[in-house]
Symmetry: C2
Subunit: 481 residues, 2 copies
């Protein structure tokens, strides 16, 4: 095991590596600046030696690092330094590292590479990994890579790329080890010794028949504790999680969580074993989903390279601000419709944002609950009515408590008990609106096949803003003017 | 393998199970209602038979289900039906199921159980699992369970419970298989055959010396592909991820993600092997973190049992609404200070929420970016200045574009070019405020040792609301009055 990578046990260790790299880069830059300022014949000679020294040292440090750690360092460096480090990384590791970096950083790295380098990097990957990289590669590079593949690999690549992004097919690999059910463990063990190494995450062997149809699975745990003269068929498990390439990757992830799986076979509708999903792909998927949800909630289209240009950031964020501007403008026009009332009673202007704001927050609490319940499949039509009733109950209590408190505050501030009553009534009504929308929006979205999670927060805030202004100013106009 | 559990490959299958259970429960309820309405001697006889029939059928369906699936069903049922199902589940599975259900549902189940049942359920668990359950159990039950443990188990339980909730110690188990480095693979294979089964997620054996100090790891993959006469010492890997019980669980999770691990040894500062962490604990951790972040963002203290009472929900949500009320009240008072200006120019009341709203959204985009960058350890002091510069650049561009657009809209609506100019200036200034706070708040929180993610969104929204009103109304008072 001479080519073991050096691994970082903690964030601290990883950050030490990063600091080392940054120190060396800073020294390198310093020398470069000095050399550039110097003129005359000494320039080339001394410069080149000292110059190279730091880069050599840097390369020596990068060599033993795991591709994931190199990726981390590349992501943490600004573009110019990133490309210096990238040039120093051994070409045979390019492919692995490209797989590990974030999409935004990958783009910057690929842009800096020559087509031949890209082809070499791509050729070092397995077909399932290649499938992830291909969409980011230039057309001509893809064509060259494709030519270099065997017929079987081409078929696998084509298959892997044909599945939609959120399907099991898109996260499966082809590294399965298969055995027949009529052989003894002795034979299986001998067969395994023919391998140089078993694929990562091999926790079970797949038992298939002559036509590659899956009959069962043989966990290594069972293989290892049984006598070698037993046949596979007597030990294999026939109850196991079986995924199909068109299943949602997200559902596969849930099965992994429920049953604590390390790997699971992927089987086509005819029962033929076509691939497997491993827990590391599932971990990546869960993390990515959590991330993209978090980003989406703040209206960021995708993860930003933190060293992206101002312009790239503006592009990443504009859509959300534009939507927001529209909804804010609508709310503003609602207020505009009541300018007469505000002119007469200017206290309304100061109080109205409270009604709108609390409604928005309460609505977001409800929608978060409901979206989660839907995602966990716990919402049956019957439960729905219960939930709505409960949320309306919560809204009524909150409206009376908080609205009552604010009503008293308004009465105390402006000396009008009628204004206080309008405040309390408006708060309660807007909370009821928020509760109904918080239950209704995700359900309607699901009914019409949209993802119940996306955009719910924007919609409910828009509704409780405009609605809150309308309810409060409307009640005030009715009862106070 | 006669006691294999039946597994659900997809959400659909799981929901079919749930629907079956619900149908049987409904039939059971129907019969019960009929029986209760009937009087006289036939009551007991017929009733009892038909009555029991559906429950027996239900029990038969529940029997082969995996504990995780039973947990799913329990979570999806309202309290009364949940307890009927819970009573039907075989007692020996109680412990496993209690581990799988959500905290809120676990409470309801534990409340329904007699102390002796709880002791029996707890005794069926491993010590690391027990450690997770103990905090929810009544004192006297814990004392009884403790008495039933062996000295070694007590020590393990005490150790597992002594680690803080977010440490590696709290997610480790004690199911490691250890070997010595001077034995051959032949011996190792014979040793493994002595087990009835290997612990779940055994992808590597831990190589230790006489004092349990770890020397290396022997992946099963390597064990299986090598000839049996080789010694462990010649094949074991000496570069491996080594966790300490006091490390942050979150950092361990990142190491699992970086290096695609299935298990990792936990080693005390003296180098002694004390436990191991497996990928299923990491998956649960990642999911829980994503969940609690999502809930916290909406101001929910914890996950709600969707069938919780209205009152439980009110308690879960009130803190956030109270905070919000305070910040909204402050913003309202800022507006109150400018009532004179609003009275003179009522258009200000309609336009001010736009300035505040866009500022809040833009600030949330910035803070999300920065919190993520900090979490990934990519923010060095040097990078900080760069980031602030970039965010201020983005804010200026957005302010001029969107603020300009709104300025034109205000001019067109109210026919005052000065009002339009004030609008544009206020938007730009509030976006600059949002950008500074979006960079500054998480950094300050981190500097003072607080979690940079928590509460950032509330603080920035409070700041951009009050700040936005102040900037807009202040500028208007200065230049338009």
């Amino acid at each position: 095991m001479s080519e073991e990578n050096q691994l970082s046990d903690s964030d601290e260790e990883l950050q030490e590596h990063l600091a080392e790299v940054q120190t060396l880069l800073a020294r390198h830059k310093l020398v470069e600046d000095l050399v550039q300022r110097q003129e005359g014949p000494r320039h080339d000679l001394v410069g080149d030696i000292v110059h190279k020294q730091h880069l050599n040292e840097l390369q020596r440090r990068l060599e033993p690092m795991h591709p994931a750690d190199v990726a981390y360092i590349l992501e943490a460096l600004p573009l110019d330094e990133r490309l210096i480090v990238w040039d120093l990384v051994k070409a045979e590791r390019d492919g692995d590292i490209l797989l590990e970096v974030s999409d935004a950083v990958r783009e910057t790295l690929i842009e800096s590479m020559a087509p031949t380098e890209l082809v070499a990097a791509a050729e070092s990957l397995d077909t399932d990994e290649l499938a992830d990289l291909v969409p980011d590669l230039p057309q001509d590079v893809v064509a060259d890579v494709f030519k270099s593949l065997s017929a079987e690999e081409r078929e696998q690549l084509r298959a892997a790329m044909s599945y939609p992004e959120e399907s099991v097919g898109s996260i499966m690999d082809f590294d399965m080890v298969t055995v027949r059910e009529d052989v003894t463990l002795e034979v299986v063990l001998r067969y395994l010794r023919l391998f140089d190494e078993l694929p990562d995450h091999t926790d079970q062997l797949f038992v298939v028949d002559r036509d590659d149809r899956i009959k069962g699975v043989l966990p290594l745990n069972i293989l290892l504790v049984n006598e070698v003269d037993v046949e596979v068929g007597a030990l294999m498990q026939t109850e196991f999680v079986e995924l199909e390439p068109d299943d949602l990757a997200d559902e596969a992830a849930k099965a992994f969580e429920r049953y604590d799986l390390v790997s699971a076979p992927v089987v086509d509708p005819a029962g033929k074993l076509v691939g497997r999903v491993t827990v590391n792909a599932v971990v990546d998927l869960i993390r990515e989903e959590a991330d993209s949800e978090q980003l989406a909630q703040a209206g960021l289209r995708e993860e930003e390279d933190i060293f992206a240009s101002v312009w790239d950031s503006v592009k990443n964020r504009w859509a959300w601000l534009a939507i927001n501007l529209v909804t804010a403008f609508v709310a503003s026009r609602v207020i505009g419709a009541f300018e007469g009332s505000i002119e007469k009673l200017v206290a309304l202007a100061a109080l109205m944002p409270i009604v709108a704001g609390i409604g928005g927050n309460s609505g977001n609490q409800t929608i978060t609950m409901i979206v989660r319940a839907i995602a966990m499949g716990q919402v049956q039509p019957d439960a729905m009515r219960r939930l709505l009733r409960k949320e309306l109950g919560v809204a009524t209590i909150n409206g009376l408590i908080w609205g009552g408190l604010l009503g008293i505050a308004a009465w105390w501030l402006y000396g009008s008990i009628a204004l206080g009553a309008v405040m309390t009534a408006a708060m309660t009504l807007n909370l009821l609106l928020a509760a109904s929308a918080g239950v209704g929006i995700p359900l309607l979205r699901e009914r019409f096949g949209a993802d119940p999670a996306v955009g719910g927060s924007v919609m409910i805030t828009a509704l409780t803003d405009s609605g809150g202004f309308f309810i409060f100013l409307g009640l005030a106009t009715l009862f106070l003017m």
